[in-house]
């Protein structure tokens, strides 16, 4: 194929995915899709293998490929033009039940030539808890509607009986309908544009370009791997839930042009819904791999070929039915993301050529908090606090992490405006801001996470309730690199208003401690936000890079002045003395010398 035609077809495939994402957002009405960008659209070849990975949550790219393959197996000989299939069973391919895949065959001149697939986190899936994350679910059976594959649209016509059956099992069916229709619209656009592409260039020519594109990705990725040092890197993640702690252990081995991710030694599957299936783990490790190692390579099946995953059956990263998995995306999957990000960051850091692309772990700990209840307009609302997507950047080998800088597994994640949340729910924000000391200290500091506080406001029922799947308030999860500290852990606090009727101060000054009332830590389950109580959340910062006591003292001074680092941490961790807002160089030198002396007095590990 001539290179010009190849490049044009490749570019058109990119644009098809982009346009499909835009369509999805235009039709969807939920904050989690439009504000948080908890979505994904990709194209797949006729056999279901990944052709063109799109943006959104990247751990879905490979799982949706498995969804396509599963539909091909299940409906062999009965797949027709205009069909759209729904799949959300985690033990077949999906990550958890509330992330529904709609996969659509693409035909040209009567022949199946490709697939498009997309997902959104639907408004509700009928699990024991509203919103899809179900911390109270003991098994998959209580995590809502689940299908290993069902035809939702037949030959372009909605199967109303199937749709009605699904909607009969969920809360807020009108919003779930909108979610499903947004995905149908998305797939329709992708199918239409793919068909146009094939009409213009010919199906055989396009398929040839697709095959070449996959091979090109494999060749480029293998070449990159050969440039990187051979070795073995380890990472470990702790997930704390209700007092229990589970480990995800990873040893990543790179040899020549192959990468092996070995999760042996990870803990057995948990009684809590933080587990994930093997398809989810595979997606979880690719989510950081795509952007960190293949930022200039098309994300497709070719990138998968040099990679092997070992995930022991029955473990938290390859659980067996009927283990609960509804919190997987912010549980074990995210820990797989983090562990892979850490080992890849270490490998890049060992490379002369790629060391400046090394990064500490970004926003490692989502806090899934779904508010639900009667809103100020008398209707029912369910919705996630999209601040969980706001994230924080990990420090690089040459620069600080980006404050509230998003996350690696979703390059387009973001959070809703405060006003958007207040318009949909009977709540008011007391404050939302960057959280001091949340970024992992280092020569280059991890980006700060944030903190917020909510109170009920004009709630017809006196407030609302919320489902919280908040692991990670015990163990830091955003690991640092090369001596950098981890980002601070999350914190979830229920502030119970004082009995004497004192008003809750509506001010950002002082943060959590300025809110009147007694503080009770919460993390897992369903809780009320009623009366004059407040909910405080702090989310983790990114990991730091390098030794904190070699950080430029002037940078520490700026951090303190901006409220990103406290005076206490400036002295205790960075060894920087500030006087009247300026660096006291003499005292700083003495402080750092004292820290070094104390370090050398420690016992050797041998």
């Amino acid at each position: 194929m001539d290179p010009m035609t190849f490049s044009i077809i490749r570019h058109r495939l990119f644009r098809i995915v982009d346009e499909a994402v835009i369509t999805l957002k235009h039709v969807s009405g939920s904050a989690i899709t439009n504000e948080g960008h908890d979505l994904m659209v990709s194209l797949y070849r006729a056999d279901g293998t990944l052709l063109m990975g799109g943006v959104g949550f990247l751990h879905h790219l490979t799982s949706a490929a498995e969804a396509c393959k599963s539909i091909i197996r299940r409906f062999e000989g009965d797949i027709h033009e205009g069909d759209i299939f729904l799949l959300n069973d985690p033990y077949t391919a999906a990550l958890h039940t509330s992330d529904i895949y709609l996969v659509s065959p693409i035909h040209h001149e009567g022949r199946l030539v490709a697939w498009s697939a997309c997902f959104v986190h639907v408004y509700d899936i009928g699990a024991v808890n509203p919103g899809g994350f179900a911390p109270q679910a003991p098994d998959i059976y209580t995590e809502g509607f689940s299908s290993p594959g069902i035809r939702l649209v037949a030959g372009g016509e909605m199967r109303q009986d199937v749709l009605d059956t699904i909607l009969n099992m969920v809360r807020s069916p009108e919003m779930v309908t909108l979610d499903l229709r947004s995905m149908i619209a998305c797939n329709n656009v992708a199918r239409d544009r793919m068909q146009s592409l094939m009409t213009k260039y010919g199906a055989k020519e396009v398929d040839g370009a697709c095959a070449e594109l996959v091979n090109q990705s494999e060749d480029l990725f293998r070449a990159r791997l050969r440039e990187l040092p051979d070795g073995q890197w380890q990472s470990r993640q702790y997930l704390d839930v209700n007092g229990d702690t589970a480990r995800v252990n990873l040893t990543m081995t790179k040899k020549d042009d192959r990468l092996i991710f070995d999760f042996s030694g990870s803990d057995p599957q948990s009684p809590y819904s933080i587990n994930c299936t093997k398809w989810a783990s595979l997606g979880g490790l690719f989510a950081p791999l795509f952007p960190l190692l293949c930022y200039d390579i098309t994300w497709n099946e070719g990138v998968l070929r040099p990679v092997e995953m070992i995930a022991p059956e029955g473990s938290i990263v390859n659980c067996t039915r009927p283990a609960p998995v509804s919190v997987a995306t912010v549980g074990a999957i995210q820990s797989v993301n983090n562990a892979a990000c850490s080992t890849i960051g270490k490998m890049l850091g060992a490379s002369e050529k790629y060391r400046n692309q090394s990064t500490a772990v970004w926003h490692a700990n989502h806090f899934a908090i779904f508010k639900f209840g009667r809103n100020q307009k008398g209707g029912d609302s369910i919705g996630i606090l999209t601040e969980t997507f706001a994230g924080a950047g990990g420090a690089r080998s040459f620069a600080d992490g980006v404050e509230i800088g998003g996350e690696i597994p979703n390059p387009i994640s973001r959070m809703a405006n405060v006003e958007t949340v207040e318009a949909a729910f009977p709540v008011r924000y007391l404050f939302r801001r960057r959280a001091p000391d949340s970024g992992g200290p280092g020569e280059y500091r991890g980006g700060t996470g944030g903190e917020l506080a909510l109170v009920p406001h004009k709630a017809p029922d006196g407030g609302i309730n919320y489902v919280i799947s908040g692991k990670g308030s015990r163990h830091p999860m955003s690991e640092g690199l090369a001596g950098g500290y981890p980002g601070a852990p999350n914190s979830y606090v229920w502030v119970k208003a004082p009995e004497d009727g004192a008003n809750t101060p509506v001010t950002a000054a002082g943060g959590l401690d300025a809110i009147s009332g007694t503080q009770e830590r919460v993390s897992w389950g369903v809780y009320p936000l009623m009366g004059r109580d407040a909910l405080y959340v702090r989310w983790n910062g990114g990991g730091g890079h390098g030794d904190p006591i070699v950080r430029d003292p002037e940078a520490v001074r700026r951090d303190v002045a901006a409220g990103l680092v406290t005076l206490q941490s400036a002295g205790d961790i960075y060894g920087v003395a500030l006087r009247d807002g300026a660096v006291d160089e003499t005292e700083t030198m003495a402080k750092r010398k004292s820290i070094r002396s104390a370090r050398l007095q420690q016992e050797a590990s041998e």
Binding site: G231, Y238, Y485, P548, V565, S569, D572, R599
Partner: protein, 94 residues
């Protein structure tokens, strides 16, 4: 180890040996866990500095690995008591 000059930003490789990038202190063969040759300090996370690490939970540790020569902080790990150190090693090359 030909052509490989470091394990991380803080641990370099010189003639097949892991060395402190700041002072050159020998940390053993680069194909073996260098942390065995570093000073190791374990502190409760709550004492790591600043209020943000004070989660109110016990049993969470922050490990520091220091260069015995110059006291540079070479690596950190979050850990629970008794968990092994994380080992990062380079493969021997011909």
């Amino acid at each position: 180890m030909s052509g490989q000059d470091r394990i991380s930003a803080s641990v370099a490789v010189k003639e097949g040996q892991a060395v402190c990038a700041a002072c050159g202190h020998d940390l053993g063969p680069a194909t073996k866990p260098w942390k065995d040759h570093a000073h190791r300090r374990e502190i409760p996370l709550a004492l790591a500095g600043g209020q943000a690490y004070d989660t109110g939970h016990e049993g969470v540790l922050l490990r520091h690995f220091y260069c015995p020569g110059c006291a540079a902080l070479l690596d950190t790990e979050t850990a629970m008591a008794g968990d092994p150190a994380l080992d990062d090693i380079l493969a021997a090359r011909g």
